[in-house]
């Protein structure tokens, strides 16, 4: 190649390319944009601090108050129970929808159709009023004898809330899991089956870990939506976070600071879930990328070493 290049004129400053200095390109508009955003941010913070309407004193007084913390724990409990029951229901729903059997896939399709159609609020009220429709529930031989229980005592308002959240969540989780299973390459199924790996093991060792890559971001969305949807069960007079702050501001009239108490707690819980999401996704990225992205902690260490 060098034969083809014409003899280079010796540069005035240095004799070889090694002496040349790289000057990074300037981005004046990037600086202007940054300045504008910082000014707006400062105004926002100034407003939050100086406007007496926010009433941060009341906020601080109630943020860790016992009734609020108890309500918070109930919110977390409802979210965890709803998510666990919802995803446990979603797995058979996804498997049924992918089944070649038209009855199974039809039933799953209908379930998902119905429970995605009915608004959660309507569903919650419906379950709470189930006793009006069926006075007693019976367990036993279908169309035969069995034990019966009065509906109202079996499904209290808490049961109705949990049932509504779980069924609603299961319908969405079924679709999220199905999407993940469909994203796994057909060649993976073929390789697993050609190796004679038992069916159940094919699912949890080969297919599911790869499907998780597609399932996780959607599942995290669903979980965060569920966390906020628990605020709807206030219509059943269950003392979760949103219901509890309503009770307090109904008494003292400090609406805004108490709404902020609930808001900040929802923001904190969502932040925790997002952090969890990052690490779980990173775990399932093994093999899918050549090198894993560094954790924020590793990035900080690398920055400090410089």
């Amino acid at each position: 190649m060098s034969v083809l290049t014409p003899p280079r004129q010796a540069a005035a400053a240095g004799d070889t390319d090694g002496d040349l200095v790289v000057v990074p390109a300037r981005h004046p508009w990037r600086w202007a944009g940054t300045a504008l955003v910082l000014v707006l941010l400062a105004q926002l913070v100034h407003g939050l601090v100086t406007n007496p309407g926010w009433d941060w004193g009341t906020f601080a007084g109630y943020f860790l108050e016992k009734s609020v913390v108890d309500a918070l724990l109930l919110t977390v409990g409802l979210t965890v129970a709803g998510a666990v029951l919802g995803f446990l229901g979603g797995i058979p729903l996804a498997a049924m929808r992918l089944s070649a059997n038209p009855v199974l896939s039809g039933v799953a399709w209908t379930f998902i159709w119905v429970f995605r159609s009915v608004p959660l609020l309507v569903q919650l009220l419906f379950w709470a009023n189930l006793g009006y429709l069926y006075e007693s529930l019976q367990i036993g031989i279908p169309f035969g004898p069995g034990f019966s229980f009065p509906t109202v005592s079996l499904i209290g308002s808490f049961g109705a809330a949990l049932l509504g959240l779980a069924l609603h969540e299961a319908a969405y989780a079924g679709e999220v899991i199905r999407a993940g299973l469909l994203s796994v390459d057909q060649g993976q199924h073929e390789a697993a089956t050609a190796l004679g790996i038992p069916r159940w093991r094919q699912f949890y060792r080969i297919v599911l870990p790869q499907a998780m890559r597609a399932i996780l971001p959607n599942a995290a969305n669903l979980l965060i939506m569920l966390l906020k949807s628990t605020s709807m069960v206030y219509v059943l007079a269950i003392g979760e976070l949103f219901y509890q702050v309503q009770v307090i501001y109904g008494r003292n009239g400090r609406v805004v600071p108490l709404l902020m108490v609930a808001t900040v707690w929802y923001v904190i819980l969502t932040a925790l879930l997002s952090i969890l999401q990052f690490y779980v996704e990173r775990h399932f990225a093994r093999g899918a990328v050549r090198t894993l992205p560094p954790t924020p902690f590793q990035r900080l260490k690398a920055a400090l070493r410089k």
Partner: protein, 251 residues
């Protein structure tokens, strides 16, 4: 050892295999040649029942694949039994199909543990040996995406060997590789042939067929056109269709 008789296979209205009869002796290498769309890969996939045949039978060591004969009726086997039959038949794919979330070592050990029911430590010990056999002992901890195509295919071959199969099927094992990586995979195939492994190889590598094959089979549009020793089929083809194909491949 392997007896294929009267195998027909259709995908919808298209008949891909139109009555295949083929016998492969134990310890021999059979290379299947033919233009694309001639049904070579489908035939291979019918042998380990990745595809269900429409009619005809496949026997490996006298054992009917996919069915159980009772009187003059063939009863379809449960998926569980078919999975057990596949343990005896290795399969190497054109696109490797390694499990991307498992390391090379885990890929090789997986089926030996779960399908052949060896303990984990036995499976991993053998997996190390097999990776050494395909000259990848130093890449045991690498994920497939960190390996070159040739290395991935060698892991895939080690994975098939881990089941100690009676027979290994190779479906165009070098077609997805860069030209300079083909040699390293063919070297492994050559070693296996020398060790007396029963192999059926679908390939376009005529040179490999000439050197290693005991039998060369030429297929076209769902039928076996001719078969014989490499010298017979490659140097003195009897059929016009074979001559036309070879004249295009042997430039």
């Amino acid at each position: 050892m392997i007896e294929i008789s009267g195998v027909h296979k259709s995908f919808g209205p298209i008949e891909v295999l139109k009555g295949i009869d083929l016998t492969v002796e134990a310890g021999t290498v059979t290379v299947i040649l033919g233009p694309s769309g001639s049904g070579k890969s489908t035939l291979l996939r019918c042998i380990n029942r990745l595809e269900k045949v429409n009619s005809g039978t496949v026997r490996v060591d006298g054992e009917l694949i996919g069915y159980e004969q009772r009187g003059n009726r063939l009863h379809e086997l449960s998926e569980r039994r078919i999975l057990q039959q596949r343990v005896g038949i290795g399969f190497v794919f054109q696109n490797f199909n390694l499990f991307p979330h498992l390391t090379a070592l885990q890929n090789v050990a997986e089926a030996r543990h779960s399908a052949l029911r060896k303990t984990k430590s036995q499976a991993y010990e053998k997996a190390h040996e097999l990776l050494a056999l395909v000259d990848l002992w130093d890449r045991a901890g690498a994920y497939p995406r960190q390996l070159s195509g040739g290395q991935q295919q060698r892991v895939a071959i080690a994975r098939a060997l881990a089941l100690e199969p009676k027979l290994i099927l190779f479906d165009e094992p070098t077609s997805a590789l860069d030209p300079e990586l083909v040699g390293e995979v063919l070297d492994v195939l050559r070693d296996l042939a020398r060790a007396g492994t029963t192999m059926i190889v679908v390939t376009h590598e005529i040179g490999f067929a000439r050197e290693v094959a005991d039998t060369v089979v030429f297929m076209d549009s769902g039928r076996i056109v001719e078969q014989g020793t490499p010298a017979q089929v490659l140097d003195h083809p009897r059929h016009e269709r074979t001559r036309a194909f070879l004249s295009k491949v042997l430039v």
